[in-house]
Every structure is written in C-alpha cells, then in structure tokens.
C-alpha cells in the first residue's frame, strides 16, 4: 500500500476541516461553521443544479459538522439523492449520512427505502452490501417492516456472494434484535444453521452471531447447530497455527470465530450425543493444554487472542457445571493468572473465579487461593481489580473462612475507594449475618462497619442489626454493652447514635446494674449526642427517652425536664414538637402500668429475606445475587444464618410477599381509620420511606394514642381508656375445645412463648409474660392461606366460676386478615384468686365463604403467677413442717415420659415458676423449689420436691401449699411435664 492519502479528492472538505482545526476558540469555530452552513444552504437552494461531486462534498461537510456536535437540520434530501447515484463514492457518502443522521420524516423514509430496495435488487454486490450496511446501521422498525422478509432470502440464496451473505446475516440479526416479531422463521432457518459448514470463514463468523441470537428464543429449531458448532470448533482448535491463513491472528487460529462458537454452545446444555460430547470435551481439553504450552509469540496480541479463547472455554465449562475434572483444571489455570504480571489477566481471572466459586465441584479449589486474593485486595493499584478481588472474596466465603474474609474486608474498607464503599459495606453485613457463629461477633462486625464507614451504612444495614438483636435474647445484653461503649467515642457517626439509641431504649435495662452504665449515665451519654443529630435521629432519641422513663423511673424527672424545654416543646419541626408534647403528657398522666403496656418491648420481627440482600440484588442486578443466595452452601448453615433464626418467640410465618420490614406486613384493618400507617412512632423508625410526616389530622390526643400502640393493626380504640372486654358470647355459642387442647396447653405450662396452634389455614402464636398477679399475652394470628379471612373474631371465654377468679381484657382485632398477613391481639390478664381451669379462646372466621370455628385452651395456668422465693435450707424445712396437714400435701409417683436429664428438669422447674434451692435436699439428685402464687385476693406459698429415680425411670413429686386445691392442681400440672 503506497503511503498516499486516500482522500477521494474532496479538496473543499479538507480545507474546511483545516479551517476548523485552526480555530483558536469555540466562538471562532462556531462562526466558521455558521459561515459554512450558510454557504451550503445557498448552494442547495440555488438555481443551478449541483453536480454529484458537489453534493457529495457538501453532504460530507454537513456530516462532519454534525459529528463535531452541532445540530444539522437540512441536507437530508440531498443525501437521499446521492443514494440513487451510480457513482459508488457518492452513494457511499449518501448512505453514511443517512446512517448517522436518521430522520423519522416519513417522506424521507419512503425515499430511502426505495433507494435501498433498488440497490438490494441491483445484483451488484458492492451496492447490495452498502444497502445492507445501511439497514444494519439504522435498524429501525420502519426498515424492519420494509426488509425483514427479503433479507433471509438474500442470506440463503445460492448465488449470493460471500460478502453479501455476511452482511445479510448481521443485518438480519440487528433487525431481529430491534423487532423480533418482524422476522419470520421459516424454511430458511435450517439453511442458516448449515452456514456453520460454509467454506468461507467470514460467512461462518457472521452466521454464528445470528444463530446465537436466534437460538435463544427458539432453542429447539436450532438444535442441530450444536454438533455443527462442535465439529467446527474442534477443527479450529486442532489446526496448526498457519492452516487458516488470513484467519490466523498472531499464530492463533480464528480466535473470533472460536469465541463465538463457544458462546453459541453456552446457549445449550451439554450435548446429549456421546460422540459429540466426547469431541467437545477433547476440544476443551486441547484449549486448556495449549494454555500450558510456551507462547508462539511474545506479542500481547498473541496472548490476548489465545486467552480470549481460554476464558470463553472456561465460561463454557462453568456453564455446563458437570465436569469436575475440567472445572478443577479451569480453576488451576485461573489460579496461575491471579499472579500474572498482566493486570488484564489478573482482573479477568478474579472475575472468572467468582463464577467458579459457586460450583460445588470447584468451590473448594477456589478457596485455596484465598491468600492470593486477599493480597490482591491489599496491593492492587487499580481500583477495578481490587473490586474484583472483593467480589471474589465474597463469592468464596463460607463458614470456614468467614471470620478471616470479613476482617480483611473491614480492613480494606478503611482505605477503599468511595465509589465501592457502600457495596463493600453491604457485603460485609450480609456475610456477617449469614455466617455468624455467635451473634456477638455479628454485632461487633456491624458496629465496626458503622465506625469505619458510617456514611456508607445504608438504612437496611442498621435496621437489620436491630431486627436481629430484637429477635435474639442471647445477644441483647452484649449489644447494649457494646453500643454503650461505642457511644463513648467523642465523635461517633450518626448511624451509631441511631443504633445505640434504639438498643439502649429497648435493652438498656440489661446493663443498668453496672454503675458505670447506670440509667442516668446512659441517658446523659445519649443526650450529649442529641444536638448534633438530624431530625430523624432526634425523633428516634425522643422515643428512647420515653422508653427510659418506663425502664428507669429514676430518670423520669430529668427526661421530663428535657422534654419540657422550649427547644423541644416549641421545636420548629412538627414531628419533634409532637413527640415532645405527647411523650411529656404520656409520662405525666399515665400510670406505670399503662406506661409499661404502651412501651412494651418490641415483639420479635417475623422471619424474612434479609433486606440487605435485597438491596445488594437491586444494586447489582439479579446476576450478582445468584452467587449470593445459592442454596447449596446455605443448606449446611441454615440453623444460624440467613433470615432471623426462628426463636421460640418468633411465631409468625409471613408469606414471602410480606414487605421488607414486616412490621407493616399486616395491612391496616379495613374498618379502622388507619392509625398504623399514620405514623406509629416505632414503625416510623423502620419505614422505608422518608421519616413519616406527622399526621396533621388527628388531635394531639388521638395521635398520641395511635402512635404509641404496639405496631400491629389493632383497633384504634383508645389505649388509655378502659379496654372494653370483648363481647363475651355465651358458652353455648362456642364449640368444645379441640381434642388436642389439653396437650397444647401442657406445652405451655413451663414456657411462655411458642406456637399454640397450627392447621392448614391458621397459625396462632403466643408470647406472654407475667409479673405478680398480672400478665400480658400477645396472640399472633397468621393467615397461612392467600385468601382473606373475613369476620375474624377471636374471643376469650371464662367458663364456670372462672369469671370471678381471672379477669382477661382483650382488644378487638381487625375483622379481616389478608392472605399471608398476621394480626396481633393483646390480652391483659389479672389473677383475682386461685383457679383450676384455664380460659377458653374461641376463634371464628369465614374462609372462602365457609365459617370456621376453633376453640382452644388459653395457656394461662395458675403457676404463671408464681413468684420464686429464695430461702435457706433451714427456712425451707421449717416451712415444710408448717405445711404438714394431710390436705396441704399432694404427691404423685409417675413414670418418666422423657429422658431424665437433670439440666432439662432444672429448666422446666424454673419455667414452671418456682425458685430452685440448692443445698437443701441432702440428696443432690433431688430438686427442691419454693415460690408464692400471687393473686389479687390471696397469696399461696408453695414448696415442692422432685425426686428422680434413674434406675426405675420414675419420679416422685411432692407439693405442699397452704391451699389444698392448689397443691393438687400444681402437682397435676407439673407431673405431666417430665
């Protein structure tokens, strides 16, 4: 090729381009362009007919101006005129202009299509190719409508030139991508597949792209391409480096075609035909083998082309995920690349290993590279490579290496680029939760996250830690202690204040015994941060303060002082003002009992998919998430990871459609004027949207009541007003208890929380607590179906004398329970005097039109009102003797129904409610307990002794109380527990 310029002689164009380049300023350039536009316009409008050359020159100038970034609003017609020129270069410029500046002017489209039609019919291959290029470049629907039917014909016609076939194949592909409906499948499809056998490598190269796209939608129609692709691929990879002449690229035979064939095969599962499969596996092995051979050239092009095929081969191996041998070889190969001096290869190896990590065959092999990957995270100079390393660490993480990986990622976070911090934070949060062996580690990790990268800790992350702490009794004390310590830092992130505020408000009592974290200290620590925080955080802290008043009466005066301050009561922010006013009133008018009810500890959150995981999925798209939540590795760790572990008190099973934070899972009752959504304070903290705006509608009093109700769609009935006892239907209205009612009741004698009842439709969970002669019980009614329950009416019935012995106040629940939703009912219970039979719970509703009714025994037994009493051996024996009347003692000797385990027995006795006294009974195998049954009318002192006989597998249980009936009843209840 001579070193001459290949201008086609448009001197005027060259001069114009030079002029533009010589412009010293943007203004000068615009001036020069406007001058040129005026010139061209006058030429186009002039009387003299322009010759083809001038037209071409001016159209080309316009194109240049457009590509510089200026708008062009004329010249289209002249360009269209060029299309029908017989001179190739004029036609070419016309097509180029049309391709770059498509205009949906219908008049023009018709003319353009006409010109294209003529060129397609011209049988001049160069003209045909120009026309096809134009269709492919524009790819509009109009062009599809005009030509989609013709192009398949050109593609498979026996007399089409190779170059025309190539253009036709890719042109059709573009049209198919834009409007698949316009491309008719037909007899031509079979012939397209056979283009894979074409002699001309260029035709095969173009055809593979088309087939790869078509077969995705019609896999069966194109199935025959598998064996053809395999044999083509096999011929290429086994050919010598010079066999393919011009299709060999830097000693690599047909790299583009190889990559495309490997991609095509990834549209299908492994070949069924054994011979085909054998040939394919052989080819894949050949590629892996070649990777170990010394390079045939030192040029980077050689290694790039070779490795492009290698990576695509590995993709196919991963796609099949069925050849352990190949998977491990692929992993080893990638492992070599992890330390390659080429940054590109390290990047790709990290990326590719990520997918390999999710295969069960290669997961372990990937894990062996952990040190190299951690090192990459620390030392790679390019952030995109570090990001790949972080992705891979995330993908290879499992129970065995979670601590190491999480701590490395935390360390990396301190210096990580701002662009990827949030993602790293999400990943750390997910791994910490998923692989937490103990939850104190989890809490530490999340607090570290907030400390290191507080700005990047999204709401989902800190909501999640609160959910988990709330649901796990065993970590609450630790969490309270840890946040308390974290808040000591002079400058701590606002997210830390939020988490700290919430946790101390709920569980601050667990560390209040230590004088260093006494209630006043906790309060002043939190309040020292108050003024630096945003409105949302301050609102949360105000809620913490009112909870403090409940938890720690000694802080009441101080907190009331804070609430009363003008800066709160007259705060310009309505939300803060309202909270201050309401909390202040609540703390002054409500009795301690009411306060305790209103500010009851949050109920456990229902199990659900981690909202963080959902966020990462949103961020990364579904592809990224597939590696995260693959169930295979989860299976082994489902006990502790994933969603919140079901604790005994987690009684609901919300449907998967429940919203992210479950609190709002139950829709507001249709009948009630939705207070729950109007901004329940505690819900606010968790709502997805911006901090809920205070509702303007309700008067302060109403808002007050609705805001402070526990987060359940209860009736808007005033909490402070006397809860009207639910209208008691007469006993004749309710059916007999279900047959298993006694058995269900027995389960709850020694525990307060759990699932009371479950059938196909309904699940009823219980959470309750008792103090002296008072109790509060939450019943959770979960609709297990997808259909709404109607006329839903749970009521508590007191048969016989019970009405005088036990007072149960219930609140109405919504009459509708949506499918998958859960409603909660609160029962306030007062024991008036000792009682023998539990109240009945009757649940009635309509399901799909059919009335359903169900009667259960409410798990309230006399022992719930036990108050444990510690005493020394001497006192015990003295009292034991005092209760020596025959009727005061009840005794039972019975066979063990459960394995005789001392620890279990202890736990049961404690659950039963009595204190366990050590060193009282001379026989250490025996258990001795004492307590007082608290009722409104009287107190009943109880002593008990349980003597296991392991040899005989028997127990002897003795109870002595001041009341005959109580002794007998307790003895019966307790005897059934062992």
């Amino acid at each position: 090729m001579p070193a001459v310029s290949k201008g086609d002689g448009m001197r005027g164009l060259a001069v114009f381009i030079s002029d533009i380049r010589n412009c010293k300023s943007k203004e000068a350039e615009i001036k020069r362009i406007n001058k040129e536009l005026a010139n061209i316009r006058s030429k186009f409008k002039g009387d003299k007919a322009l010759d083809g050359y001038s037209k071409k020159k001016y159209v080309c100038k316009l194109l240049f101006i457009f590509l510089l970034g200026h708008d062009i609003d004329f010249g289209h017609m002249e360009a269209v005129n060029l299309l029908s020129s017989n001179k190739y270069t004029e036609k070419q410029i016309g097509y180029l202009f049309i391709s770059v500046l498509v205009n949906s002017n219908s008049e023009l489209i018709r003319l353009i299509n006409n010109a294209i039609k003529n060129d397609l019919a011209s049988r001049n291959p160069t003209f045909m190719c120009l026309a096809l290029h134009c269709i492919a470049n524009v790819g509009s629907r109009e062009m599809g409508e005009a030509f989609a039917a013709d192009i398949p014909r050109i593609l498979v016609a026996g007399d089409s030139m190779d170059s025309v076939k190539q253009s036709a194949a890719l042109c059709l592909l573009r049209l198919y991508k834009a409007s698949p409906d316009l491309v008719p499948m037909g007899e031509w499809t079979a012939r397209v597949v056979h283009l894979l056998n074409d002699q001309h490598m260029g035709v095969v190269t173009a055809a593979v792209s088309l087939i790869t796209c078509l077969c995705k939608k019609n896999p069966d129609d194109f199935k025959t391409c598998i064996s053809l692709a395999v044999s083509r691929l096999s011929r290429i990879v086994s050919s010598a480096s010079t066999d393919l002449q011009d299709y060999t690229y830097y000693f690599v035979p047909a790299p583009w075609l190889s990559v495309k064939l490997l991609r095509l095969l990834q549209c299908y599962p492994p070949p069924e035909d054994a011979a085909v499969k054998g040939r394919l596996v052989e080819s894949l092995e050949t590629v892996l083998n070649k990777a170990q051979e010394p390079p045939k050239s030192k040029k980077v092009q050689h290694s790039n082309a070779k490795n492009a095929i290698l990576f695509e081969t590995i993709s196919l191996i991963i796609h099949y995920d069925s050849e352990p041998n190949l998977l491990v070889r692929a992993c080893n190969q990638l492992g070599q690349f992890l330390q390659h001096r080429e940054t590109n290869l390290r990047y790709l190896a990290l990326e590719s290993m990520c997918t390999l990590a999710s295969s069960e065959f290669s997961h372990e092999a990937v894990k062996t590279h952990i040190d190299t990957v951690i090192n990459a995270l620390k030392t790679e100079r390019d952030v995109s490579v570090r990001q790949r390393a972080a992705d891979l660490l995330y993908a290879m993480c499992d129970r065995s290496n979670a601590k190491q990986i999480v701590s490395e990622m935390l360390r990396y976070l301190e210096t990580a680029d701002y662009a990827i911090r949030e993602e790293i934070v999400l990943k750390v949060a997910i791994l910490a939760e998923k692989y937490a062996v103990d939850y104190s580690w989890y809490v530490d990790t999340i607090l570290n996250l907030i400390r290191i990268a507080g700005d990047y800790v999204s709401e989902e992350v800190w909501y999640r830690v609160l959910q988990i702490v709330t649901n796990r009794d065993d970590v609450q004390g630790y969490a309270a202690k840890t946040v308390f310590e974290a808040l000591q830092a002079p400058a701590c992130h606002e997210n830390m204040v939020k988490v700290g505020g919430y946790i101390l408000g709920e569980f601050g009592n667990l560390i209040a015994g230590d004088p260093r974290s006494s209630p006043p200290v906790q309060f002043s620590l939190l309040h020292s941060k108050f003024h630096l925080c945003s409105v949302a955080t301050r609102a949360l802290l105000l809620s913490t303060y009112i909870k403090f008043i409940n938890l720690f009466p000694e802080t009441k005066a101080t907190i009331q002082g804070v609430l009363r301050a003008g800066s709160q009561l007259r705060n310009a922010d309505v939300e803060l003002q309202q909270r201050a006013v309401e909390y202040l009133t609540l703390s002054s008018v409500a009795s301690t009992d009411v306060l305790a009810t209103v500010l009851e500890e949050m109920p456990p959150f229902p199990e659900r998919e981690s909202s963080i995981l959902a966020k990462l999925k949103r961020k990364k798209g579904p592809g990224a998430a597939s590696a995260l939540d693959d169930g295979r590795r989860d299976a082994s760790s489902s006990d502790i990871n994933g969603a919140v572990e079901p604790t005994p008190s987690t009684v609901s099973t919300p449907s998967p459609s429940a919203d992210l934070l479950g609190l709002r899972a139950a829709p507001p009752p249709a009948a009630a004027p939705a207070p729950a959504s109007a901004g329940n304070l505690l819900v606010d903290v968790f709502s997805d949207g911006p901090a809920a705006q205070p509702s303007l509608g309700p008067t302060p009093e109403e808002a007050f009541l609705s805001e402070l109700e526990p987060p359940a769609p209860e009736s808007p009935m005033a909490l402070l007003a006397d809860p009207a006892p639910a209208a008691d239907p007469g006993p004749e209205d309710i059916g007999p208890p279900v047959p298993e009612a006694d058995e269900l009741l027995n389960k709850f004698v020694c525990k307060n929380n759990g699932v009371l009842f479950e059938n196909q439709l309904l699940q009823i969970g219980v959470k309750s607590e008792f103090r002296q002669n008072l109790g509060r019980m939450y019943l959770f009614y979960g609709n297990k179906t997808s259909v709404q329950f109607q006329n839903f009416l749970p009521t508590v019935v007191h048969p016989g004398d019970l009405q005088t012995q036990l007072a149960v106040q219930t609140k109405r629940v919504a009459a509708q329970v949506d499918g998958g939703a859960q409603v909660q009912q609160v029962l306030n219970i007062e024991c008036l005097r000792d009682f023998l039979t539990p109240p009945l719970l009757s649940v009635r509703f309509r399901y799909g039109g059919a009335p359903q009714s169900l009667t259960l025994k409410l798990p309230v037994t006399i022992n719930k009102f036990f108050q444990p009493t510690e005493m020394a051996a001497q006192d015990f024996f003295q009292r034991w003797k005092q209760l020596s009347l025959p009727l005061q003692e009840a005794q039972k000797i019975f066979k063990a129904n459960h394995p005789m385990d001392a620890e279990v027995t202890k736990a049961k006795l404690l659950g039963f409610g009595s204190a366990l006294l050590d060193n009282v009974d001379p026989n250490p195998e025996n258990f001795v307990g004492a307590g007082i049954i608290q009722t409104k009318a009287l107190q009943v002192g109880c002593l008990l002794r349980l003597e296991p006989n392991a040899q005989a597998q028997m127990y002897r249980l003795t109870l002595r109380t001041s009341k005959e009936s109580v002794s007998r009843h307790l003895c019966e209840l307790l005897a059934q527990q062992f």
């Binding site: 002689g9 381009i17 042109c171 011009d246 492009a308 390019d382 592809g623």
Partner: protein
C-alpha cells in the same frame, strides 16, 4: 459479541469517531461520551483495560494520541474485544499507511467505511485483513478524482503500539 458502541477520542478529549450499535437519543449519546471520555482519560497507564460502567463493560486501549473505547455486554469477552480494537487499528494502518490521528480527522468517512466492513451491527463480520481491505480497495478503484491531501502531517503514527 454484541458491541454497544465504539468511541475514538484524543488525549485532549476530542471525539474523533463514534459508532452506535444501539438506538439512543443524541442527548444520551453526548452524555455517555462526556462521561466515558472523562472516566477513561483519568485512568493511569498501567491500569487494566477493562472497567464496569453502568451495566456494561468498557474495554479501551490507547494507541499514540488516540483512545479506542468499546462498550460490550456483561457476558461478552473482554480480551477478544481488545483484539477487535487492535485489528481495526491494523486495518486503518494498512489502508492509510502508518495511520495517525490526522488521517482519521481528514478522512473520517473512510474510517467509518472500514469499520462497517469489519463490524456490522456490533458483531464481527469479517476478520480477514485481506478481505476487508479488498472490499475497500474495490470501492477506491470505482472512484475518480484522486487528489493527494497535503495537510497530512505525520504524528509518528498510531504504529507505536502496533508492532
């Protein structure tokens, strides 16, 4: 291999060639161009040639004063895309004879024609250098009025990275 677009721009950020294989408005094209030029120019020489950008992968390489930058889809092969760039540079080099940025400025239409012979609709159409150039040569034979452009000043060519 579905390429979404290809951009050629100079070290000063001047766009020299743009080829879009997906329908986008002019406004979007300008926005994307601005964003990518900035991103790529900010990268240091030894960094890797690939980056994630929106939901696409960007593959770029610098030849003398020009950056060649391609956007491909998530599943596409980065290394083979690098070699698409290289093959295109080779084609330009062979056609112009030691190509330089100025050749592409003054003969931008030729750069587009060569690209169309090599890539169509974002897919590789013909990888043989001989076949691509044959198509262009034939076209040149059909044309008249060959005049040598004098404004061409060698800038050392894009060759530096070629051989």
């Amino acid at each position: 291999m579905a390429m979404q677009f290809m951009l050629l721009f100079s070290r000063q950020g001047k766009l020299r060639l743009q080829k879009w294989y997906v329908p986008l408005s002019d406004k979007e094209k300008k926005k994307i161009t601005r964003e990518l030029v900035q991103t790529v120019l900010a990268r240091k020489p030894k960094m890797c040639s690939f980056l994630e950008w929106r939901d696409l992968k960007i593959v770029y390489k610098r030849y003398a004063s020009l950056y060649f930058c391609c956007a491909i889809e998530d599943q596409d092969n980065e290394l083979i895309t690098l070699e698409i760039i290289h093959r295109y540079v080779e084609l330009l080099d062979k056609y112009f004879g030691s190509v330089c940025e100025l050749d592409i400025i003054f003969n931008f239409e030729k750069a587009y024609f060569i690209l169309d012979e090599f890539l169509l609709g974002g897919e590789v159409q013909e990888t043989s250098k001989k076949n691509v150039l044959k198509a262009i040569e034939q076209a040149d034979l059909l044309q008249e009025n060959r005049i040598r452009i004098t404004a061409r000043v060698s800038m050392g060519g894009l060759r530096k990275n070629l051989y």
